[in-house]
Symmetry: C2
Subunit: 209 residues, 2 copies
């Protein structure tokens, strides 16, 4: 059962600052979404993303008044760990989390845009592959890339995927995609804002795992 | 740096009962061993095994006086959760943990026995594959089996593997293997005892993931 689409991201203020508490509340619904995908292979991804969220939350909770926005955290860590930063703490966790969020964004956008394999209209491999190539591939070494290709076979059918997005109810594809489009508005703005912050603060790394 | 061989398993009493506290102390050194293997791919396995240990420990700590042996835990859970057992709690965690332990046992035994690919004497793929086929393969669906085959490419060279087993020191292959043989004595007895317990209590399952 997915609450993904029920947990809309909030609109950002004009300065695009992201409220840490609201952000954490909203992304905390994402890991359980991987349970609906029907293969235990996804539990690996679920726990990776969940680990990122837990790490950011732990830093936030140390001093909520100091870490009102995500940028407050990243800047404080730059100050506190000049040698290791940005490969440290919540800065590193958010660096990876944003890639998983971007993956989801591109996947949903591609579905909403009707991109599909005409010969296999009920598969989402083209959409998943597009998301992977744009969001993650360059951060993965050849081994993880090969594992992705194998894991792609565990991708759910489009009908099941849309059903999972609709809290397990059978809905018309078009109705579900309308919800996806709605969800993507603030979601995309938020993910873009995290990327912009990393680029502005020069906090992005491109090592591979 | 591995403390694997430094943390010998204790001898078992004549009735082969396994002391929960000692067992947990000894296996707790295993997960960090996966850090020495040189690929982040192994962190997935590390956290799976670590999760098993954490789960068993959590049950044990609820009532150490009641759960003196591993069998005490498994029997108490059979009593407490008749419908779900054995796919529940520490019984399930130990079911999977023992498979990882068996994998390690067969891998080390195969190295100690000098089994090797004559054309690639510094690879351990034949040993890893043997361990996989005997300990894990039947519990994995085709997708995880395929991922194993890809992940096999991340297996370290034999020389690096033996070095990791020797706390990062360069040692003669024969000296390291002598330590491995020594380690395997009580280790094998312990792993066998866990398997025997599962078979005696009819606690084994053969579903695939
Ligand atoms: C017996 C058989 C044995 C075989 C074992 C094989 C195991 C194979 C494992 C394959 C890798 C699984 C994916 C996980 C990849 C992760 O390695 C990366 C980096 O992960 C980051 O690493 C950092 C340090 O460099 C910190 O630890 C971060 O942690 S920190 O919080 O501590 O800072 C952590 O997230 N995350 C990623 O690449 C993110 C992945 C997001 C995925 C998004 C959805 C993809 C959907 C795909 C659908 C098809
Ligand atoms: C972006 C790219 C995305 C790609 C993502 C791909 C991800 C691929 C993931 C592949 C699987 C990794 C291995 C993990 C397998 C695990 O699924 C299994 C069962 O795991 C068990 O499951 C139970 C429920 O059924 C409970 O949750 C147990 O947990 S409980 O404690 O809660 O009860 C849990 O251990 N453990 C296993 O098979 C055990 C594995 C032991 C391995 C031993 C060493 C092997 C060394 C191999 C060397 C080459």
């Amino acid at each position: 059962m997915s609450l993904l689409l029920d947990n809309q991201f909030k609109e950002l203020p004009p300065d695009k600052a992201i409220d840490t508490k609201l952000f954490l509340e909203t992304v905390s619904h994402i890991p359980s979404f991987f349970d609906c995908l029907g293969s235990n292979v996804f539990s690996v991804i679920k726990s990776d993303i969940n680990g990122n969220i837990v790490k950011i939350k732990a830093v936030y909770l140390k001093d909520p008044a100091k870490y009102v926005t995500l940028q407050d955290i990243v800047e404080a860590e730059r100050e506190a760990h000049p040698a290791e930063w940005p490969k440290v703490g919540a800065t590193l966790a958010l660096m990876w989390l944003k890639r998983g969020l971007r993956f989801i964004q591109i996947l949903l956008q591609s579905l909403a845009d009707g991109e599909r394999d005409e010969e296999n209209p009920n598969l989402i491999r083209v959409n998943v592959t597009k998301a992977y190539e744009q969001a993650l591939k360059k951060y993965h070494g050849w081994l993880v890339q090969k594992i992705f290709i194998v894991a792609l076979h565990a991708a759910p059918y489009k009908s099941n995927f849309l059903k999972a997005l609709s809290k397990g109810e059978e809905v018309k594809e078009e109705d579900c995609l309308a919800n996806v489009r709605q969800f993507l508005v603030t979601y995309t703005v938020t993910v873009d804002a995290v990327y912009d912050m990393y680029s502005n603060l020069n906090a992005e790394l491109d090592y591979t795992v």
